[in-house]
Each structure stands twice: as structure tokens, then as C-alpha cells.
């Protein structure tokens, strides 16, 4: 059974967490793991960064708290799920490993 890694990202771009998220995500994908990422609060601002969105192209599943994104006038990019807290709840419940960047 495929192991899965869940990542929660709530910090804004200037917090400097994106590089760690990309590194962890790419490493996990290269190891054949399922990678699920949820962004909320200030973390939705990473949707404006092509480096973050490339993770979806590489196979990561990215879900967004649409409420937070809409509050910040951020539009839905292709390849991400425009979701809500239910997506995070199921990710936490189902993932083998879970990391939070808050």
C-alpha cells in the first residue's frame, strides 16, 4: 500500500517555508509516496507562486481553503482543488505522516 505524506501550509510567502514544502514534497514523490498538501490562512498566497504549483504538475494533490483564498482575492489556479476544511480533516485522518507549517 502506498505511503502518504500530508502537509499543511498556513504561513505567508515571506515566512520562508515554501522551500521546505517543495523539498519534502519532491522527495516524497520521488520515493513513490502520495503527497497531499492543504493551504489555508496566509498560506493561500502561495497559489501565486509557480514553483508551488509545479508540485501539482509533479503529482502532489493540492487542496485549498477556498474561503481564505476568496477573502484574499486569489483566483483558483488549474490543478488544485478549491475545497475547505473537510479536505484537511480527511487528509489528517488518512495520511501516514503529517507535517504542519504554521
Amino acid at each position: 500500500m502506498t505511503q502518504s505524506l500530508g502537509i499543511l501550509l498556513t504561513t505567508p510567502p515571506d515566512a520562508g517555508d515554501l522551500e521546505a514544502v517543495i523539498g519534502l514534497g519532491e522527495t516524497a514523490l520521488a520515493g513513490g509516496r502520495r503527497v497531499r498538501i492543504f493551504v489555508m490562512y496566509e498560506g493561500v498566497r502561495h497559489l501565486n507562486d509557480p514553483r508551488f504549483l509545479e508540485l501539482a504538475d509533479k503529482g502532489a494533490e493540492i487542496a485549498v481553503c477556498a474561503q481564505n483564498a476568496i477573502e484574499r482575492a486569489i483566483e483558483q489556479p488549474p490543478g488544485v482543488v478549491w475545497g475547505g476544511q473537510y479536505d484537511l480533516a480527511t487528509m489528517v485522518a488518512e495520511c501516514d505522516r503529517f507535517l504542519a507549517f504554521n
Binding site: 489555508m40 475547505g84 476544511q85 473537510y86 484537511l88 480533516a89 489528517v92 503529517f98 504554521n102
Partner: protein, 109 residues
């Protein structure tokens, strides 16, 4: 079922701590047992100003009604949020360590 702790340890700053509480309520939508743990300056979330009081009350009452656990560091609670209106369980440091150690996932805000 996952046993999840959401640790709120920073002083209220904008929407940060109310978002942590909204997330805590959201976690109950799946098979998670949620423990909200107020530590250090995070206990000040329990004495909210007028702008956030309704949100804090709504989230804490929802979690309590659903049978999830709300705890705080007793010492921090006494020194920084003694007048709180909310029903939270005061624990000492070893009890908090045991709670966190028993959780499958810890999400620290």
C-alpha cells in the same frame, strides 16, 4: 481514528488564533478526536476582545458540544487569562506532555 492535538501557543494576532480554532472544528468532520491545547501566551485567546469574542465562543462551544477536549496550561491560565468565561480543563505541565505524547498528530500554531 486519529487523536489530534491543536496547540495554540502564541498571543492572539489578527485572525491567526481564530483560524486555528476554525481549523480545529473542521478536523471533526473526519475521523479525528480533537484536543485543543492552549499554552503560553496562547491562553490569551480565552479572553478575547470584542472583535473576536463571538467567533471564539462559537468555535469553543461547537468543540465542547461535539465532545472534544479543551485544555490549557494551568499556570499560564491563572497568570494571563484568569477571568475567562470558557470552560477549559486546566492541566499541569506533565499532564500536558502526556496528552501530547499520546496524540497521533500535533498541529502547533
Amino acid at each position: 481514528m486519529k487523536n489530534v492535538a491543536v496547540v495554540i501557543r502564541r498571543a492572539p494576532d489578527g485572525e491567526r488564533n481564530t483560524e486555528a480554532l476554525r481549523m480545529s472544528v473542521g478536523l471533526t468532520l473526519a475521523d479525528n478526536r480533537v484536543n485543543v491545547v492552549f499554552l503560553e501566551e496562547g491562553v490569551r485567546t480565552l479572553t478575547p476582545d470584542k472583535s473576536s469574542a463571538a467567533l471564539v465562543r462559537k468555535h469553543l462551544e461547537t468543540l465542547r458540544t461535539l465532545g472534544h477536549r479543551l485544555v490549557a496550561d494551568g499556570q499560564a491560565l491563572e497568570s494571563q487569562a484568569a477571568g475567562t468565561e470558557f470552560d477549559v480543563e486546566a492541566l499541569n505541565e506533565p499532564e500536558i506532555h502526556s496528552l501530547l505524547e499520546a496524540c497521533d498528530t500535533v498541529i502547533s500554531w
